[in-house]
Each structure stands twice: as C-alpha cells, then as structure tokens.
Symmetry: C2
Subunit: 537 residues, 2 copies
C-alpha cells in the first residue's frame, strides 16, 4: 500500500512567501557603516528578495549556479539568503576574514558566476580581484554613495522587479547554499546545503528544546552570516516571523549592547570571545544598559568557560550552548536542561549548562576512540561523529576521504568530547589540542576554562609546548583584565584546587591579545608557532 499524502517539496521559497503573508509589518533593522539604523519590513524584504531573484534569472543565472556574497550582517544579505535560492541558484557566502588569496581560491573552486558585495568591502575585493573572474559584480550601496564606475548598483539591479515573478521551484534535494570551511589546516573545503537540509535544520533549530524562537522574539545574530549561515538564525527568524536585528560591521560590545537595548532583543548568538568582551563592558558600566530580562545568548564555536555563564547570570541574561560546524549546517547538539536538571540547586546546574547538550533531533551522534565506540559515561573521550539530514556526506568536488568520513557514512568532525549518562556532550579538545605530558593526556580546554575562572583573567588559551623531559607541557597564554593583576603563581594556586599537580600549566605568558581565527576562535596553531621555543624555567 502507498501513503496518500501529497508530495510537496521542502523549499525555502515557502518561508519567503510565508513572511509576506503573515508577517508583512514585522521589522528588519540593520546597523549601517555610519552607525545609523536602517529599518524596513518583511513586506519590503519579500518584494526586494523576489526582485533579486527575478533580476538574477533575467541575467541568465540557471538553477544550481553559484552567486557569491561578500557582506556583513544586514538586510541586503538577508535578501540574498532568500533571493538567490528563489532564483533556483546557490548562495555562496564568502568569509571576509580569510586571507584574500584564500577567498580567491574558494571563489574559483566554487566557480562563482556573480558577486554581490558591500561597497565598504570593495577594498577587500580589490586585494583578490585580479585572481578571480566574476561575470558581474553587484555592489550594495550601504554608505549611500554612488557605486564606483565599473560596478553595478544593487538597488538598480533589483529595482526592475515585476509583481508577478514566481520563485523558481527546484527539487528539495537541489542545492540552495554553500559555505567553505575555515579550517586552520589544508585548503578550504566546500559544503553544499539543499533546500531540504535547510528547511529541516530550521524547523529543529526553532523548537522549544532547540534555540526556541517564535514570532514573539527579536533576534540578533552576532555570528556572521558568512559563517555557517549565522547558525541558521536568519532562516529561523524569517520562518517564524521574528523581528530581525543586524549589527552590520559594528561588532564591538558598546554597539551590540546599544542594539540589544534599543531594539529589545530576546535572542542572540555568538562565539565565547564576543561574550567575554561583552561581559566586561557590562561590568564596567553598571546600570547603563537596560536589556530584556532573560535575553537568550547562544554560545557556540568552542566550549565556553563556566565563568561566562555565572557572569551573565548576574545580569539576568541566559547563556545557552550548542555545538556544530559548517559541515553540520551547523546545529549538531544543543543544550536544553531536562526537568530533572532544572530541579537541581542553581549551583549544580552549571555542571550541565556548560555542556553542549543532546544531539539535535534528527541527528545521531557517537564518540569513537582508538578501540571503537566509547560509552556515554561522562569520562570516556572520543572523536565526535555525526549523521543526519543536514550533515554533509562529502565535500564539493572532492573525493570522499576517510579522514573526513567513516566507511559507514558518518562525518568525522575532528572535535573530541565525552558524553555523560544523560546524553549531554561535553567538548574537550580537538585531537591536536590535547597535551601529551609524560605519557598522560591533559585537556587544554579544561585548563583554559579554569584559568578564565580567575577573577583577574579576561581571556586565556592553553597550548602544548615541547618540553625536554615531558615531551609536552601546558603553557597558559593569558590576557589580564584592565587594571587588574595576577602572577602565574597565583593563577596556578587557583587551579590547584581542581587539578592534579602534573596537569597544571608549566608556564604563563601574559599578553595583550590572543590571536584569533577568522571566526573569533583562539588561533592555537599560531600560538603554538609563537611559543614553540618557550624557555621553561
């Protein structure tokens, strides 16, 4: 027998049309380069995104063709998120924090036909323009100045829209977007999302046990729209009709706090380093900011220190964690405390809150060690492997490699963690971030979270540095809070309460800044290079 259900493909176009039908007056607010606020509505968004789609089709873009974006987070980027797929094409967002030669490699590898670029990013484009060959370059005039000669004006490009353009419908497994990994090793690799994968990811991300977003929320993604689809927040927000607020190029704490307060933001997302800086600004300006009580701050990208959760708790703001990567769309796990955990005293809840949570619904997870799958006992560590409808099963135009995929078809993430008996994942270290000291493994992540728990420490990263006797020993690279001081000895005493002596950092390097990856993570490869000749005392 057969099911009698209709065969209706999952499509981003449904989200686009739904936004117009049900939420035409809801606002989309964007911070412009001059710091002014640009406001329009879902009705505007719908008209303009469809105008973009129509213009792309008229310009000869065919289903599956790539249209690249080089943009900050703002209304026009959101139009690209939906307008490019509505043309049947593939939105390929370029990470503007990569080295120009890497961007050129990615553009050429993806065979991007058109580029849509912010006018304020034309100087970046100039750095790799000679190495790529876009057929057309369309410039978003964010500054309001005329678009330089030789480029097309985005407003003119989308301006000729008719009212009767129908979105191009493609198979639900057809591609709608792509993103390259910003891996610290090897060439960037392309992940290609489908309408199906994006729709399913959106449904799950919006769930109460997920990021929990509805039409009553106001969402501000700090995480860039050129990085893992800003964790899917633009798709989720548009889908449920939430008000959207975009920070443009202004990601400093003061600008963000101003937007949170002014626009009554209820949901936001970013990496730990952004939140550490924000927390510092809140502490330095007591009573200055009036934020929505209980604003949910999603943290991802890397494990966040417990001090971050405690810090924001003081301000009535709720940090929640998730784990994922470009290859996982990106929601792999998300933390939502179970009723049994919520019943615990607040102090005991932190042990669960800092973990990355359960596999997102429809995703399967397992940990694999040297001897196969490891048990969910909260101690056994293994590589995180995942499988699911929005997990990549290959890389664009590359052969399937056993270092990335298992024989039975799971993604090898390269991230390492343990899972407790409740099913909560806790990230420990990427394999290469573990420190092997005298034959024993030391977790750099545990150490750096503990170092950041010291009141005088603003940020810290712990790396393995070669040691003549122990092979490797941990070195803590520390940024102190402005106006505060601490010695390595004091920090070591602080750590000695929770770590065995042999696990303690062997040395401390005090610096003003820790180098970061393009997505704000500590750049441990760089640190290891900088300190490889560290003189142990």
């Amino acid at each position: 027998m057969k099911s009698t259900m209709m065969q209706v493909p999952l499509s981003l176009n449904h989200f686009l049309e739904r936004a117009k039908l049900y939420h035409p007056k809801v606002e989309i607010v964007s911070r412009m380069p001059d710091k002014s606020l640009h406001r329009h509505t879902y009705a505007d968004f719908h008209r303009r995104a469809k105008g973009l789609a129509e213009a792309l089709v008229k310009a000869g873009i065919q289903p599956g063709d790539r249209v690249a974006t080089l943009m900050w987070n703002h209304y026009a980027h959101l139009e690209c998120y939906f307008g490019i797929p509505a043309a049947g094409a593939v939105m390929h967002n370029l990470n503007l924090r990569l080295f120009p030669h890497d961007i050129a490699f990615i553009v050429n590898h993806a065979k991007d036909r058109f580029l849509i670029v912010d006018d304020v990013l034309l100087p970046l484009l100039a750095q790799f323009a000679k190495d790529v060959n876009f057929e057309r370059i369309i410039v978003v005039p964010l500054t309001g100045k005329p678009v330089p000669r030789g480029y097309e004006d985005y407003e003119g490009f989308i301006g000729g829209a008719t009212d009767d353009f129908k979105c191009v419908e493609v198979d639900e497994n057809a591609p709608c977007g792509m993103c390259y990994t910003s891996g610290t090793t090897g060439s960037p690799k392309g992940v290609v999302y489908s309408h199906r994968s994006t729709v399913l990811h959106t449904l799950v991300a919006a769930l109460p046990g997920g990021i929990n977003v509805s039409g009553t929320d106001t969402v501000l993604p700090v995480v860039p729209m050129f990085h893992a689809n800003a964790w899917g927040l633009p798709f989720v927000s548009t889908f449920v009709g939430a008000k959207q607020v975009f920070p443009g190029p202004h990601l400093d704490s003061e600008s963000l706090l101003d937007l949170y307060q002014r626009e009554r933001v209820t949901v936001t997302g970013g990496v730990p380093t952004i939140w550490l800086s924000l927390l510092q600004t809140l502490r330095a300006n007591p009573g200055k900011y009036d934020l929505v009580p209980g604003m949910r701050m999603m943290v991802g990208g890397s494990a966040a220190p417990e001090s971050l959760f405690r810090g924001f708790d003081e301000f009535g703001l709720e940090v929640g964690t998730a784990w994922g990567m470009t290859e996982t769309s990106p929601l792999g796990t998300v933390s939502s405390l179970k009723p049994s955990m919520r019943a615990l005293p607040k102090e005991e809840q932190y042990a669960f809150r800092i973990k990355q949570g359960m596999a997102a619904p429809l995703v399967e997870i397992r940990l694999v060690g040297d001897n196969g799958e490891v048990p969910w006992d909260g101690r056994s560590v293994g590589e995180i492997q995942v499988r699911g409808p929005w997990i990549t099963g290959s890389y664009h135009d590359l052969p399937i490699n056993e270092s990335s995929f298992t024989a039975d078809g799971w993604l090898r993430t390269g991230d390492v963690g343990c899972i407790d008996s409740e099913g909560f994942l806790q990230l420990t270290d990427r394999t290469k971030d573990l420190i092997k000291s005298g034959g024993e493994w030391i977790s750099s992540v545990d150490l750096e979270n503990a170092v950041m728990g010291h009141p005088a420490v603003l940020e810290a990263s712990v790396i393995a540095v070669p040691h003549p006797r122990w092979a490797e020993r941990p070195l803590a690279v520390v940024v102190l809070r402005p106006g505060m001081s601490a010695t390595g000895e004091e920090i070591r005493d602080h750590l000695a309460k929770t770590f065995a002596k042999w696990q303690l950092p062997e040395g401390f390097a005090f610096v003003n800044e820790i180098p970061r990856t393009s997505t704000g993570k500590f750049l441990k490869t760089k640190l290891r290079e900088m300190y490889k000749d560290w003189k142990w005392e």
Copy 2:
C-alpha cells in the same frame, strides 16, 4: 552541482530510539479501567515497543501490512504508535465510537491483518467480529484478568523480545499509519500517513508558535488516539521527551481534573464539548483543584465559543485553538498571537484568540468561493482548501474525486471560513451548516457561540429548519446549566445586542443533551432530522 548533504530518511524509528537514549527515566502514566494509575518509563516503552515490532515481524507481518488497534488512550496504545511502524507496518487505529458495522467496513476496506484490542473492548469487538477476518487478535489485559480463550495475550506476544532487534527501515514515503474519516455522510474514507508526513507534522506541532511542547512539559491528550492521531500529541511528546499522561477510558471531568492535578499536566487537548463540561466542574467546585498555572488547553474539532476562553481565563488556564481534520494529520492551522495582538488590551485579544490562527508552517491555505479565491478581509467566506506535506492528496483505494480535491491538487476540506488581514482563519460553518433565510446567509456557528455566551446556557447548537416563508430559519437547540433557567425570549434579547433582527433564532428547543458525533462534535445531521417538522410559532 549537487548538494553534499547526507541522504537520511525521515523515520519514526529515530523518535523511538531517541526516547531511550535521552529520556529513559521520563514517565508514561496511564489511567486503567479500574481507575488505578499504571506507571512506566520511556525505557520500558522503548523495550516493549521494539518487542512488539519484533513479534510482528516474527509473526509474518511485512512492510506495508496493516495492524489495527481498538484501544483507549494508554501506554500500550503508545507502544503500538511506534512498535507497528518499527516493524515496517501500518498502524490503523479504529474509532471505537463508530457503529460496529462501520468498523467492520473499515477493517475490510483497509485489509487489516492483525488486531490489537483492549480487553475491556472485547464486547465491542464481539459486535462485528463475524463480519471481519483478522488473522490474529492480540488482547491487552488492562484489567489484569486472564485473556479469554481464543485470543492471544499482548504481554505474551511482546514478551519474547531480544535486545538486538533493529527497527525495520523503510523509505520515508512509505506508510506508517492510517485513519478513516468519521464523516457524517457517505462511507468512511481512509487516509494513509507516511513516515515523512508524520515526522514533519511532529516537528511543526512542537514549535513555540505551534502547540509549543518540549521535554519540560507533561502532556495529556483527551482527544482519542483513535481520532486523527490524538492530534499528533503522542508523536510530539515522545519526540521531545515530554512526560505523557493518558486518561484511559475515563474522560469525565472529575477524572481528568484529578489527573491534571496529580500529574502536574502542562499541555492538554480536546474538543469544545469536553472543555465546556470541564469548566462547569471547575465552577461547581471552587478551590478544589490545584492545576499547573497556565496549563495550555488546545481546542479543536470545531470552533469554540468565546465564553470558553473567558471561562478558563478565570482559572488561569490558557485555551488555544487549532483547526484540522483526519485528512490534515491533523494540524492545518494553529493560533499563536502575534506581538501586535499581545500588545492589545486583554478584552480585545479575544477577537483573535477565538480564531483558528495561521496556516501551520509548511501548509498553504486558501479560501475558495463561487467566483474563485476570496480575499483575506475578515468578511469574505469560502471553502477552506489546503496543500502541504502532511495533507492527504487522495483516499486509500479510491479514485481521486473532484468533490474532495481540486484540479490543481489542493484538498477541499468542506469546512468554511474567512481569513482576516492578519492571516487568521475563522471557521464559520460547513457549507451545509449555513442557514439560508430569505436569500441571506446566516452563520449557525456565530449564533451558537453567542447563545453559549448567555450565563444560563451550558451548550447550544443552531441548525437550519425549513420555514414556509423564509425557506430556512435558525432554530437554537439549548442545554441549560443545572439549576439555572432562561426563556427563548431572554436568550433572544441577549443576542439582539450583537445580531440583526433577521439573524436571530426563530425558535428555541430546550433539551437535556445534544446528540454528538463519535468525536464529540454536535451531530447536526441528527438535529436537522429531529427538528425538520418544527412548528414555528
């Protein structure tokens, strides 16, 4: 170019395994026929549902075969919800409130191979057993008494489970369940759900803007599991790991209120008549019941009167509406107030709260009148037509009929309503429930909701009765609250505040009870028959 995403089919089996992995200790509580409470956990549920699947496969059930259930809402029915699909088979729940000859027709039409039946329902089975031919009949010993000779014991049947049975994986479009419509006209028609349709329906039903269910909820479906999948609540609850509470055969207000209080229920669902009766019991016993503040009571099946929303508001309980039918899995629309509506004074919110809300995400809706699609202006009335991945596109083993489906593939629901400029649907009448008086249409639903707003009225139904001069005139069939009185004249005066004179009921019939369909809706066909010879004054 192709998407690089994994091809992972949507499957109910994922929900089943997830329940065990992440929520093994969460409870499933069932009211037994003797009113005692049966308690077990998701770990028990997982073991037993897989035991059922294994036993079915061993017994020769093949993918796509139908296994019927004739059961109340309880733990074993939940096991069937997942165990039958885990065998690759199709769970076909039989509506125990139908006439026995209709049940026999349905069993034969669906070609059900096995039956799983509550022991307390064996007398019902006896009424149609001679007209059907199940290969095996498996009896759930709810009373604890030995299963009568000639039947198999469910506990024995599932008891031989090994620990290594793997759920049967089928294509995501393969059938997992079926349900026959309980239409008041014509033969019942079969709707066959797929894994894909059920998974997608579940994701959307759980959304914050949907029924809003997470692992922190406790869910009690009053709506029967043999009727439109209990609105999908058992799937949603299992999926998110919510505690589940089942009322068994005890649907009287006292039993329900006792369960709500005792098990701290946060989400429940049922038809208006159930809630009207519950409200009466709450009012008759002030202070007796201590329910979870803000318990969400989903109402569906037919439009609910405003007095119901106001009534439960007095007790701090939140009524929410949805609309759907067996053909729509059943979520077609769901009401979730927009921020702009929440900002209105409470009194003004009722105008939106009583409506059936926006189309569920992934569902498209339109209203079609005699001259094509009607505008969303809050006044224009048309037949509700829908399209989406969990909407039926045909009926099992029947040719596609233009009275049920449009040429462009939408479902004609037979329900009638209008949609306002916010996109909120409001049910008016089924075409045949409209009253044509002197060439003008009168809405029986509007009238009966207003009649139920009179303080002395418990329930009311308004029907069209032939009239010598006006063709038809409205007759109100009224049940008064115990100990209260009202005359037709008084009720008419009450209505005259909001209705034109020609719209007012022409007559009033006071009765002790209004006949109902098997699913608790007022049986208007019966009423029209009963009062067709009404003598107008």
